[in-house]
Structure formats: C-alpha cells, structure tokens
Symmetry: C2
Amino acid sequence: MIRVEPECYPCFLNQVLLACREGGAPREVTEELLRETGRVVSELSGSEVPARVATGLHRLIKERTGNEDPFRQVKERALSGFRSLRETVRRRVFQSGDPLREALFLAGAGNMFDHGIVSREDAERFFEEVSSTSLGRFDVEKVRDSIERAWRVGLLLDNAGEAPFDAVLAEVLRAMGKEVWLGVKGAPVIDDLTLEDAGRVGLTEEFEVISNGSDGVGTLLEEVSPDFAGKFRESDLIISKGQANFETLYGDVERTCFLFVVKCPVIERATGYGYGKILLLGEESCAREGESLTSGGYRGGNP
Amino acid sequence: MIRVEPECYPCFLNQVLLACREGGAPREVTEELLRETGRVVSELSGSEVPARVATGLHRLIKERTGNEDPFRQVKERALSGFRSLRETVRRRVFQSGDPLREALFLAGAGNMFDHGIVSREDAERFFEEVSSTSLGRFDVEKVRDSIERAWRVGLLLDNAGEAPFDAVLAEVLRAMGKEVWLGVKGAPVIDDLTLEDAGRVGLTEEFEVISNGSDGVGTLLEEVSPDFAGKFRESDLIISKGQANFETLYGDVERTCFLFVVKCPVIERATGYGYGKILLLGEESCAREGESLTSGGYRGGNP
C-alpha cells in the first residue's frame, strides 16, 4: 500500500473542497468541513494510507451535508454518454490489429478523466489527443501472458466516466474465452461506478457485476463484503483500474495487475513515472508487501 | 482587506509545503509543520485576512526549521539576473511611445513570476509570451492622472524576481519629476525583496528605499515601522505591487493604486478577473473599507 506523504496534507483539503463544491454544500458547511479536515490532518502520521484517510473524509462530507452522492451530476453526465462512447471505443478496439493491447491502452487512457467524458466532441478530442507518448511502463506482453493463463478474470472498475472503456476491455477478455466479472463500489464514493449505475447502463445484464459492499476510496480489503472477497480470492487474475485501487492494493495482493494514470506526486515517486503517464503493471510487479517500484519517497530540499 | 474563503484552507497547507521544500526542511519537520498548519486551519473563521494567516505560518516555519530565509536560493537566482533583466526592460520601456504605460504593463506582467526570472532565455521567452491579451482591468489613464497630480510617490515592491521591472517603473516616475521611494520588507518573507537585497543590486544608491520593518506577507499596517508608516501617510500616491499587498491594503487605504496578477480564486472573485490577468486599479477603486470590486464571494454548488 501507499503511505501518506507531505503532499497528501493539502490534497486532503482540496478533495474536501471539491466534493463540497460538486455536492452544492453551502459555504458555512464547507468551511465547517474544512476545519474538521484540518483537525484530521493535524493528527496524521506517515503510516496511514491516503485512500483510507480520504474514505473517512468522504464519509464525513456525506454525513454533514446529508448528501449521499455529492458527485451525482458528474456521474449522470458520464452515464448518459455511456452507450455512444462505448460504441466508439468498441469500433476502435475491434478494428485494431491487436484488440487486447488497444483495449488496455484505451482503458488506461480513459482513467485520465475522473469526471467523465460525455459529449461526442469531448470523446473525439480525447481520441485525437491520446497517443502512445502518454505511455509510461506498459507491461502488455506480461499481462497478455497472465490473461492467457487465467480462466476467471476480475476487472475492478473505477469512475463512471471511464466505464465505457472498461466495458470494452471486458468484452475483449470474454472474446478471449475468459469468465469475466466486474467489481464496483458498494455505495457512491466520488464519481465511482456503483451496482445501481452499472444496472442503469445495462452492464449487469451482460456481465456478472459484484459490489464490493464498501463506500471506501479504492478497494479496502478489510471492508469488502464476503461475496466480493471470495470472488477476489478465487479469481486467477485481477485487473485493477485507477490510482486509488493501486494505492490500496499494491504490494498486498497477488495475481493482480494495475492499469491507471499517474495523478499525484506521491504516485509519481512510488512508480517513477510522471504526471499523466498511463501505466500497466504486470502481476509480478506487486508480489511482496512494502516493495516499491523505485527507491521513491519524499525528499526535502530543492528538486 | 480580503477575507479567508474556502479555497484558502488547502492553499495554506500548500504554502507551507512549498516553503519547506524550498528551504530544504527534512521530511519529519515538514510533516510536523503540516500537522501544525492543520491545527491552525481547524481554528480559522471567515474573518481572518489570508495574508495574515500566511504570515503566522511563515514565522512558524522559520522558527521550527531554524532557517530564517527558506527562499534564499530562489532570491539568489533572481538577484544574480537583476541587472541584465533590468537593462532589457529599460530598453523596451524607454524605446516605447508611452514609457509610463509600458513600464506599468511590464511591472504588472513581471508579477506573474513569483520565483524570479533569471536566465536570458527565460526573459526572452517572457517578452515573447506576455501580450495585451493578459490584461484585465488596466486603469492606465486614471493612474497617469494620479501620478501627474502627485509629488511624492511610494512604490511597494514585491518579490525579488520582479524587482528589475519595478526599478524601471521607478525610473520612469523619476523621469516624470516625482520624488520616488521604494518600500521593501523588514526581513525575509517568501521571495520578497528586503533592504539588504535592494542594497546588493544597487537600488539603495539610486532611490530612497524604506524597510517596512515587518516580515509579514503583504503589508500589515498595524505592524510596520513608524518610519514606513510616516512615509506611507505623507505620500501623495502609493503604487502597490503584488497580490498580497492588494489583499492586505485594499479597501483600507486611500491614494493607493494596485498593480498585480490574479493568482487565486479568492482574488478572481474579489476582482471579477480570471487567473493570470494583469490588473492596474486606479486609486478611487479602493476608497471605502469593505467595498468589493464585484459582488464576489464563495458560492456553493456547481459553477
């Protein structure tokens, strides 16, 4: 797992500010929550996992604002564009010479958009702009081997905006003869896909979709439902989408590969790849607890 | 004066992180200071002035790190490039058809660079990139009138990187027959110019340079030396550089115009101009305490 570093401190307050703004919280409630977050960070130590701290803050926001889904509007936009974007992605993937590679590449790139790609125009711009120059480490051959050896594959979904990409990746996996299941959140958290959201866009009819039973940021294995935990354990391979899943699972699980875009300095240092890079880490990169991809870690002084 | 708004909360932690990094503070000290800042923001109310809160934080950083000048390296770079940049600016200003306008424009644009423009290449890029599209409200004719009516003019300097621009503006004011003095900080704070810095680049030989006697962010009138306060009061016009001086003086002083680049959402709302815009506000825009340039203020909900 990834541990709290100095850059996380201001980031926690930024996350609260963003959630309050997206959820339409009044100014006084926003300020009360920011003060409360000040108290939370004043008691932090370096041993916490950032996604766990964020989980606590998002729960506090829901409680204090009485709004169980502050990012609802963002998700609504993403869900309304789901089918047409998925169709575009599907065409590109199945017309390419290497559908698995293309699906992994686009699903990784889709993780850039936390807040959902919606309009046809946005999607077109996305496909124009995304290119292989965005690639960091991309263990596609390792992952291809892992998939070929696997029978049951779990794909842990992340935010609603990238779900159309993930759905196409799941189709490719199924076309390769795999038994595929999709992992979603147990309740709204940021703009992540829930079982209800998955149902609304028809994913539950096509695939086995399993709620992790938790409203935590990322995947907090100590909090997930027995159903999800069993599925996770019994799978031959897990493909984990997004930075928060990387933060919470990396180093603690086997048979898992990670696909995400680097979005903060802590993960830049942990992975050795800069902001905006798409990473696909093959399963053996996370064999041992506490192992770091690089020598990483915050260093004082000038860069 | 400008009051704390929700966006200030994460910003305070970011400022501490930046100062610790620039000053080379070890990780443990950085984390201790961030936790302490958490305690400070947990007790904030909306009536504080952001620059005053920041002042307290910068003092705390100096005390805990034992480093009286965390931005020393940044300032050294700025000071080492001072003379050649000033020469470039001087040529552009005195070769232009309207030296006062050009000097105000470039001194305003120079405020973009908190961390100093150093190399010849950076300066060239700056002059290529800065253009009138960066202008927000620019009350140049009002300010020209104010200057023409004034005899004694004080120019409150800001960071060391923009001081070469300010020096040229001071030259233009003197060429217009004004008695010009320059206001600097009483001790290091962020990368602002001090009396010692002004001496090192020869400004004290050319101009009357007055220390404000304070290491506060911006200009905290309740903290300045009697010498500075007298000079401020007896001047016919003050030209105040930088956002922090605007934050601390706006609405509370007369015969003052403000020249700065908008650098945060709180000032965006207070002024009605977006990030990166260069503003020159004539003296009558700040006649009354509490008056806002626009209807401003934080609003919850989606933008």
